[in-house]
Symmetry: C2
Subunit: 306 residues, 2 copies
């Protein structure tokens, strides 16, 4: 894999940025990678573990002279960071991000993008429940999708270069319209996360079932929800606040459907339940056939076929 950018700046050094750094280095995609995190502790950790070729003391310093600047901060602060680094962006440079919401990020960032800078929002669909500069690993993006969301007038050549960059990190890249992106993600990510958070919160609240029982007996299904509900709270707060309409729409649909199934339980309609559960099974098969999950029982969580 050959170099795609001379200098890449990663603003924000959490799970995604740290995984990007290791993936960039593994594939030799950039000459130099600078980095910045708002917290001193994160910058110190980054220096200690060799995350970034150069850890800077401000976002502007990290962005200066870069030909690709990647905003890896929570969605809620994208606009402020863009404003801060804007004066440092040189003509011909590309500004991108990795936020989970696209319409809102575009609204926040676009007004600050200087003439001649290519603004190409993006969203790698990859992550784990861990966060912070030490949680990254080079393989995170392998066989995952990165959605590129070019805005009006994005330079095709700059888009192609960003695509090559993500493909170099192991991802498949695809272009998508921002509103469609936000709806697809509301279904595949945002609503499921809110639902998982809610279920875990309910379990935590129940007085008659103690915390220790919930934890002890979690392998019966509940623990899968807790993994999702262990994701970064700041990131997720911002996602829900900035993809409000699509998320609320999907949650509304979810509630309708849940009520229908509750009624089937209450009235003892076994046929409806059986048909519903048979239909959902087919989707799982599709995901495995598409290579987006393992068919190993229980995610291959340490159980081995004898």
């Amino acid at each position: 894999m050959s170099q795609v950018y001379d200098r890449v700046a990663l603003i924000g050094l959490g799970l995604i940025a740290s995984s990007m750094f290791w993936a960039i280095k593994r594939a030799g995609l950039a000459g130099e990678v600078t980095g910045y995190a708002r917290s001193r502790a994160t910058r110190d950790t980054a220096r200690r573990i060799g995350l970034c070729d150069r850890v800077c003391e401000s976002a502007a310093e990290a962005a200066e002279g870069a030909d690709l600047v990647v905003l890896c901060v929570p969605v809620g602060v994208m606009g402020g960071v863009a404003e801060e680094i804007a004066p440092m962006l040189r003509p011909g440079a590309t500004l991108t991000d990795v936020g989970s919401v696209k319409r809102n990020v575009i609204e926040q960032v676009a007004p600050h993008v200087p003439e001649g800078v290519h603004f190409i929002p993006a969203h790698p669909l990859a992550g784990t429940e861990h966060s912070g500069p030490e949680s990254g690993f080079a393989e995170l993006f392998e066989n995952r999708w990165c959605l590129l969301v070019p805005v009006h007038g994005s330079d095709p050549e700059a888009v192609a270069r960003l695509r090559a960059f993500w493909e170099g990190m192991g991802a498949h890249a695809e272009e998508m319209d921002p509103d469609h992106h936000d709806l697809v993600l509301a279904v595949t990510s945002h609503a499921p996360h809110l639902i998982a958070y809610t279920m875990v919160g309910v379990a935590d609240d129940l007085r008659r079932v103690t915390d220790s029982e919930v934890i002890k007996y979690s392998a019966a299904g509940f623990r899968d929800f807790t993994r999702i509900a262990a994701s970064d709270p700041t990131m997720w707060r911002d996602v829900f606040l900035t993809n409000k309409d699509a998320t609320l729409e999907i949650l509304g649909r979810f509630t309708e459907e849940l009520f229908a199934l509750q009624r089937a339980i209450r009235t003892g309609d076994g046929e409806q339940l059986f048909d519903y559960f048979t239909r959902t099974r087919a989707i799982r098969r599709g995901i495995i056939e598409a290579g987006q999950d393992t068919d190993a029982p229980d995610f291959g969580r340490g159980v081995k076929k004898s």
Copy 2:
């Protein structure tokens, strides 16, 4: 590990029974294991793969002369099977089951238990999303809990023997009252499964987001739900119909909580969301500390630390 029973009969040959067979054999817990499944195809498969020392042509034949009979059929048919095998149960034998609901199973089965037979309901909290005679493996119960739910007058010696049997298969055993069992499982298993089924059903329904998009971009959270929603439809239909009250109660609590979070999103109350998501994160830590899940990112799903 030494032999605990001379003859064990497994009625129903799905994931749990087949895993029990391999675990029994590995530890030498029984002299002979007989088995029966209602479907001829399942019996043929069992014979082909060496599942059970002897595959019988009726439940009664399998149960005859056994000192432990384990009902491994869907909860909804436990009573009928118990009635069928009752005449074959000899005094001093133990009758148990592996159903996910306990109050209802006791109501169905207890009336058929002959004088002198020890009826000790049980529930191993273990499983995967796979089902059928070929899905079993000896390690399924390792480090998982098996809840024993003795009924009024259960012989302590017979309970101790059943406990030794489950511990021989690698499980931790614990006694619990049937109603408390059904509530704990409604929280840790039944409600989460219904919620996962619902979320997957909603995704499947959406017209603007195509099936292929839902599948392609599932790694963003949704795919964890699909694993749970791929579980056996018959088994789950019966669980919901027979643990109706506890499940509906937890779902009611869930809906209340979901509405509160939806309102927080709608009104832009970031603080409430952030606090909620921080609290749920702590439960995940508890589960990992209790050894009930892996801390490997993303369940260790094929991603490796570099």
